[in-house]
Symmetry: C2
């Protein structure tokens, strides 16, 4: 290729097409570089477009924006914050209109990305060294020195510089999203909430600023259940397939990728998709599959990997937490069972009382967290029976009044066993143990409390415990017919039991009977 | 200021001192911008230095690096990756030496930060448009067009661009550190480990690449105990003050900042210090104080705030987890106590057996995590006694052989109560309940297992349980003298008890007696 050594202003050169392979941000189809021309002479706009007619950089063409005054330029850049380059005249409506625009962009809009090439026909108005030093511009050209070749060079290096800044900035934004995502995925939460969050965050990390692109991503999380991966959370085109085995939900080509990841127990990327394999030391193995309408570039892949690293740790935390919480539940249930076992009641009485108490609490408007505390505390209400001798506790016939006085002490014994703890569950269990034979009409024991002085948790447990005791065979009696039980509750409504809670219980009787069916007495 | 319109090559201009106030990265004292001159003509080096003699940008001067060939330049940039700008000749040892250097920097070293100004005296060898398009350079100048004023402009805009890239890059690195830090601070761990980690990570976030600067930061975490903030982890000059109340550990000026943060319950920055106040919904309030030898710039402050946000969440997680784990321990202890209470033994027997079993396990080389499982499982070993009638369990005199057969069943009853769980603690408790009356010589019950068939956890619990039973009064006997107990262990070494474990127990007797003192029988 021949090069002329001296060119005139906007002399035309051969256009060389970019041969670089972009190794940073893969370009999204149809995107362009926005170039803004700011000049009060219409002619300058025309010849600039002409000179850059065939310009491309990394296969993207230019889109031109035109302003004819400083004020117009300010409006235009405000509306087009993704402008790559501004070719900016200095003297327009005032002698320093262009310089005002620079200040406005950098200081008011705080846009430090757009590359500003100052292009002046009056260097005396904007002396080069002064302007270069005092204003945050990226190039200074006198119109007389700006040949078509020079313009091409300036715009090319400016766009390259803009691309570099944007690449790091996209990386930075992705990392910020990951940090926000991490804060969220590490919050204590259910496995289901966690997986749904992971998917939403993945789309934000890939497209922090673009709702439309986010919405075009399809993805799911699947977890291994009995040797098969089942989709448990999904977005986009997989939304329909929750609770479906993965291999039935995806096209054959995708199934091949998934099978590969499952067999090798490791994550794989294809051009536009990510399959993450998450092996857990405790708990199940999990898969994350994500598919984008665009190819994933190196930066996308890197951000996904960084996020995936935190997902693994968060997943282990969740499983570990679940294990501790489950153990806690089982120990409490065992404690309840041990006590009930002593009075020859069945183990499932404890589970039924726990579950039914939780449900009645929710019906009464108590929040999830509190209801869960009640569920954990309720099974311990009879713990004091441990202090009652066999001869009284297991006596088949009617108790003497001395024996009854002895039985009554199980409320205080239970309270004393539990009261020294500072733990919320234990403190709750302690007052339930103490009060669970009080009656709304004040005729209960040990303190003879009346309705509002009895904690609502206790009023709930009393209804549930009596219902369950009557509804099943006990060593000293046969199960009652349902009608007879309901008659009793209506009779004791507002006397033994809280009237409003009895109403709620009766209104939702079907749900309580279903819990009874789930934990039968035949084990 | 007057400006000449036509300058000759390296004509001297007035130097304008930078008047910008840097609002991005605050400059560290003594730092300079590294400018590399690559040219095979010595004269070019000299006049370049002369032309830029008084150059400063944001109060930092230039440091010059000189190379006289492409190969020298490659070596020099390898050793000075923090170079801001290269003024690069094209034709040196070969006609494209300079272009080779560009390829080497961008593709081999992957340094995309240094700004490259190509400066050629033979434009025919390196045609502008071709070079600009094909090589990742940032400016192209023919030597004939590069006046001193133009050189000043080119270097200024290049350094400005380098600064912008580095600012985002420093931000990006800080965010990557935060992500790695988050992964670590969210791992399940003790409060102490967590606080030590937070301090180390804070220094890495501020100085990802610089060990020396990291080592010059002093910081501590303090937690509220009985109304006073006590330092629990510290680095730098505060290292000596762990377990000291904060207000006694710091100079008066710092104490004022801390008092202010404590009173307002919020975080404050001063020029070179950060005081973070972390109020927790559960658990204690905490303070983080950090003091740097340099002023903290806006970016530093922002990174600290982002990290602090994750610290709050991690802290809540730790407190919440601690609450669950503590509850679990208390429920298990209560279960043990309930059973022991039935046989009229004291509650602290359970706590002593748990703690002593853990210590003996550690002495036997079992790891912390396993030893903790043993500690939680051990208190449940006698749970089967719940199934033994009062008449036998509480009989003061000698048991008949039928009664003894009945007592023996408590191992199986306990096993049956616990065996159905999948939880690790419960499964461990189940086999301990089953085997805890086996003997190493095979004369135990229910299965008559011999030494190696009895799980090491069981062999540990047996020694501890028998020791504690003999060492304290029981309903059916007085406490034994220590000498008599030791004689029994020596006699039963290798018969009832595991010989090696008995040796370990006796060697560390002092520690076990200390545990006994910590949980006396007088409650």
């Amino acid at each position: 290729m021949s090069q002329k050594n001296n060119e005139t202003f906007f002399d035309d050169d051969d256009i060389l097409f970019a041969e670089e392979t972009p190794d940073k941000v893969t370009v999204t189809d149809g995107e362009t570089w926005k170039l803004m021309i700011v000049d009060d002479e219409e002619e300058i706009h025309d010849i600039t477009r002409l000179a850059l007619e065939d310009f491309t950089f990394e296969d993207r063409e230019l889109t031109y924006l035109s302003a004819y005054s400083g004020e117009e330029a300010k409006k235009l850049i405000r509306e087009n914050s993704d402008t790559s380059v501004i070719l900016l005249d200095v003297v327009m409506e005032t002698e320093h209109s262009g310089l005002d625009v620079v200040e406005y962009i950098r200081k008011e809009l705080k846009n430090s990305f757009v590359r500003i090439i100052l292009r002046t026909g009056h260097p005396g108005q904007a002396p080069e060294r002064k302007v270069i030093t005092e204003y945050d511009i990226n190039d200074y050209k006198q119109k007389t020195e700006l040949t078509a070749k020079k313009l091409f060079s300036s715009v090319t290096t400016a766009i390259r510089s803009y691309r570099d800044l944007k690449t790091i900035e996209k990386n930075r934004q992705g990392l910020e999203e990951i940090i926000e995502a991490s804060a969220n995925i590490f919050k204590p939460q259910s496995f289901r909430m966690f997986t749904a969050g992971v998917l939403t965050w993945l789309t934000s990390i890939l497209h922090p600023d673009d709702d439309l692109l986010r919405s075009r991503i399809s993805a799911f999380v699947a977890t291994q259940e009995k040797g098969e991966f089942i989709i448990i959370s999904a977005i986009g085109s997989f939304s329909e397939h929750v609770r479906t085995p993965v291999l039935k939900a995806v096209p054959k080509a995708v199934a091949r990728d998934l099978t590969c990841a499952i067999e090798q127990k490791q994550s794989v990327f294809s051009d536009n998709a990510y399959t993450g394999y998450f092996s857990s030391s405790i708990g199940s193995d999990n898969l994350i599959y994500l598919e984008s309408p665009h190819n994933l570039d190196e930066l996308d892949k890197r951000l996904i990997q960084i996020f995936a690293h935190n997902v693994i740790i968060a997943l282990d935390n969740i499983y570990l937490n679940q294990e501790i919480v489950d153990t806690q539940k089982e120990v409490i249930t065992t404690l309840g069972e041990v006590v009930e076992n002593r009075s020859k009641e069945t183990a499932n009485h404890v589970l039924r009382v726990a579950e039914m108490s939780r449900v009645l609490a929710l019906k009464a408007g108590i929040d999830e967290e509190e209801a869960e505390i009640l569920r954990l505390a309720a099974p311990m209400h009879d713990v004091g029976k441990i202090g009652i001798p066999d001869s009284v506790l297991l006596k088949p016939g009617r108790l003497t009044s001395e024996e009854f006085e002895l039985i009554k002490t199980h409320t205080l014994i239970g309270y004393n066993i539990l009261k020294n703890s500072n733990r919320r569950i234990m403190k709750t269990a302690a007052f339930i143990a103490l009060q669970h034979h009080e009656r709304c009409d004040g005729n209960g024991y040990p303190q003879g409390l009346k309705k509002d002085d009895i904690h609502v948790f206790v009023r709930i447990v009393e209804i549930i415990d009596v219902f369950d005791a009557l509804f099943h065979d006990r060593i000293y009696k046969k199960a009652w017919e349902l009608d007879r039980i309901l008659a009793l509750f209506k009779e004791e409504r507002g006397k033994h039991f809280d009237a409003h809670l009895v109403d709620l219980f009766l209104e939702n009787l079907d749900e309580f009977l279903a819990i009874n069916d789930a934990y039968p007495d035949d084990r």
